[in-house]
C-alpha cells in the first residue's frame, strides 16, 4: 500500500472522513445560524442547545414511545422547530427593536436554561443511541473502511444543505426571505406578512439544528453538553464564512471540517485550534468573512 508523506492512507482517509462528518454538522448548524441571523439580526446562541434537544428528543421518542430513528428524523425537527416558534413569538420577537446584544443575551440565557434542565434530568454521562440496523456495518473501499452510517450522514447533510440553498435561492418563498433580509419594511409594504415570515424562518433554522442533532445521536453520545461543545466551533465557522451567507456557510462548514481532519493527521496538536487560527486570519484580512458582503 502506498504512503503519503509518511502517513499511511488508512489514517489519512480516516481523518478526512472524520473531518467530513464534523464538517457536515458544522455546515447544517452554521446554515441555520446564517439564515436566522440574516433575517432576524439575532445571533442565535440557543442553536447548540437546540441541536442537543434534537438528539434528546430522538432518544426520548425511541425510549418512551418506541419511534425509531427514521421516524425521529422527520418528527424531531417538527417538534423542536415548534418549540423554536413558541420561543420566537413569546420572547425573541420582543427584542427586534433593540440592539443585537439583547438578542444575544436572551438566547445565551435560554441555552444555559435548556442545557441545565437536561443536565438535571439526564446527567452528563451521555445516553446511548444505536445506529439504525439498516445502516449498521460498513464498506471496505480498499484504501479505507467506511462505516455506512457515517457515509449516510455526509450524504444526507449535503442533500439537506443543498435543498435549503435551493429553497432560499430559487423559490418564491425564498425570494421573500432574501428580500425581507434586505429591506423588511418594503416587503411589508407589498402586503407580505413579514412577522410570520420571521417566525417561520426561526422555526426552520431551529428545525435544521434539531435535524443535525438526530443525525449526531448515533455518532456522539446523547449528552446535554454536546451542543455547547460544537457551537463554539460553529460560530467560528459562521464568522469565517461570512454572517448571513447561505452558500458560504455550507462550503465553509464542510471545508473547515476537512481542514480540521487534515490538521489531525499532520499536526495533531493543532487540530483543536486550527479553526480559530483561520478565523483570526480571516477577520484580519477580510472582516466580512470569505463569502460575506462588505458592509
Amino acid at each position: 500500500m502506498f504512503e503519503l508523506l509518511g502517513i499511511p492512507p488508512q489514517a489519512l482517509f480516516g481523518q478526512l472522513l472524520l473531518g467530513l462528518i464534523n464538517g457536515s454538522f458544522y455546515a447544517i448548524l452554521s446554515l441555520g445560524l446564517a439564515i436566522i441571523f440574516g433575517l432576524l439580526n439575532i445571533i442565535n446562541f440557543t442553536h447548540g442547545a437546540q441541536y442537543m434537544m434534537g438528539a434528546f428528543v430522538a432518544w426520548m421518542l425511541l425510549n418512551y414511545l418506541g419511534i425509531p430513528y427514521w421516524g425521529a428524523l422527520i418528527v424531531v425537527p417538527i417538534i423542536v422547530g415548534a418549540t423554536g416558534i413558541v420561543l420566537e413569538r413569546l420572547l425573541i420577537s420582543r427584542l427586534y427593536h433593540l440592539d443585537h446584544l439583547y438578542g444575544l443575551l436572551l438566547t445565551f440565557g435560554l441555552a444555559l436554561i435548556i442545557t441545565g434542565i437536561f443536565r438535571n434530568q439526564y446527567g452528563i454521562s451521555g445516553l446511548p443511541y444505536a445506529i439504525p440496523k439498516q445502516l449498521a456495518g460498513g464498506q471496505n473501499l480498499g484504501f479505507m473502511f467506511l462505516p455506512n452510517y457515517r457515509g449516510w450522514v455526509v450524504v444526507v447533510s449535503l442533500v439537506v444543505c443543498l435543498a435549503t440553498w435551493f429553497a432560499i435561492e430559487k423559490t418564491r418563498l425564498g425570494g421573500y426571505l432574501r428580500a425581507a433580509t434586505e429591506n423588511p419594511t418594503m416587503v411589508g409594504a407589498f402586503g407580505i406578512n413579514v412577522p410570520r415570515l420571521i417566525t417561520l424562518t426561526y422555526g426552520f433554522g431551529v428545525a435544521l439544528a434539531a435535524f443535525a442533532g438526530v443525525l449526531a445521536a448515533p455518532i456522539y453520545s446523547v449528552n446535554p453538553n454536546m451542543g455547547a461543545d460544537v457551537i463554539i466551533v460553529v460560530f467560528a465557522v459562521v464568522v469565517i464564512g461570512g454572517m448571513g451567507s447561505i452558500l458560504g456557510s455550507i462550503l465553509t462548514g464542510f471545508g473547515l471540517g476537512l481542514v480540521e481532519g487534515l490538521t489531525r493527521v499532520f499536526y495533531p496538536e493543532g487540530s483543536a485550534v486550527v479553526i480559530f487560527v483561520i478565523m483570526a486570519i480571516v477577520l484580519l484580512v477580510k472582516p466580512a468573512g470569505l463569502f460575506g458582503r462588505e458592509a
Partner: protein
C-alpha cells in the same frame, strides 16, 4: 383671488368620488414631529402631486399613507376604509402601493424576482406582458441582478412591479429624480398611460415641469401641512405664487 377662497374652491374640485381622503394626518420620525395635519384628497382615476421644498414632509406623507411610518395619527380613508390603525401589509392588501424614492430594488434578487416579488393583492393589475410593453428595457435584463440595472431601469422596475399587483392607488416618490431627460419623458408617458388605465396616482415631485405635464391638481406642502391647492388648469395664473412656495 385670495388664497383662502382658492383653497375653498379647489377642495371641491374632485367631482369624482374620493378614493383617498387624508385628514389631519400627523406623523413622527422617532421623536421628531414631521407632519402637522396634512389634508388632501384624490378622486378615483386622478393624478395629484405633492409639491414643496426639501424637508416639507412630502415623502413622509407617502410613508404615512402606506403605513411604514412608525408613528402617525389623524385619518387616512382609502376606498371606504379607515387605514390609520392598520399595519402596512394590510394597507397594501387594500390596494395601495408605494414606489419609494430610493426605489428599493433588492440586490439579492434578480430583475425577474424583483418584478414578481409583490404578491397580487386584488384582481385587475397589469399582466407581466403589459409591464414589458411599458418598459421593454426590463424584459431584456430579467436574469440580471436587480441592482445591476441603470438608474432609469431600476426606476422602471420599481414602478413596473407595483403595476402587477392590482393596487388602485400608486404612491410615486420622485420617480424622475436623477434621471436623464429622455427617461423622464418615458416615465411621463407611462404615468399618462396609467391614468388612462384608471390608476389613481399621488406623485411627489421636485421637477415642477414634469409634475405640470401629468397632474390634475397640485397640493403645496410646507412644514408638514398642505398650505395650498392649485388645479393644473389654473397653474399659469398661479405660477409666481408657486415659485415663491418652492423657492425657485
Amino acid at each position: 383671488m385670495p388664497e383662502a377662497a382658492l383653497a375653498q374652491q379647489s377642495s371641491e374640485a374632485p367631482l369624482v368620488k374620493p378614493l383617498l381622503k387624508v385628514d389631519g394626518l400627523q406623523g413622527w420620525y422617532a421623536e421628531s414631529h414631521v407632519l402637522h395635519g396634512v389634508d388632501f384628497e384624490v378622486g378615483e382615476g386622478e393624478v395629484v402631486t405633492l409639491l414643496g421644498r426639501n424637508g416639507a414632509g412630502k415623502t413622509t406623507t407617502l410613508k404615512a399613507i402606506m403605513g411604514i411610518l412608525a408613528k402617525r395619527s389623524g385619518s387616512v380613508m382609502f376606498d371606504g376604509h379607515e387605514t390609520i390603525k392598520l399595519p402596512a401589509r394590510a394597507i397594501a392588501r387594500l390596494g395601495i402601493a408605494l414606489c419609494p424614492e430610493e426605489r428599493a430594488i433588492f440586490s439579492s434578487l434578480s430583475v425577474e424576482e424583483n418584478l414578481m416579488l409583490p404578491p397580487q393583492v386584488r384582481p385587475g393589475g397589469l399582466t407581466v406582458e403589459q409591464v414589458f410593453e411599458l418598459f421593454p428595457n426590463i424584459k431584456a435584463r430579467l436574469s440580471s441582478q436587480g441592482t445591476k440595472l441603470s438608474g432609469g431601469e431600476q426606476q422602471m422596475l420599481a414602478i413596473g412591479r407595483i403595476l402587477r399587483t392590482g393596487a388602485k392607488l400608486l404612491l410615486l416618490d420622485e420617480p424622475t429624480e436623477g434621471l436623464a431627460p429622455v427617461i423622464v419623458q418615458q416615465i411621463g408617458h407611462t404615468i399618462a398611460r396609467l391614468k388612462q388605465e384608471g390608476f389613481t396616482i399621488v406623485l411627489v415631485e421636485q421637477n415642477f415641469h414634469f409634475a405640470a405635464s401629468v397632474a390634475d391638481r397640485h397640493y403645496v406642502v410646507e412644514q408638514g401641512r398642505v398650505i395650498d391647492t392649485i388645479p393644473n388648469d389654473e397653474l399659469d395664473a398661479n405660477i409666481d405664487k408657486l415659485h415663491r412656495y418652492l423657492g425657485v
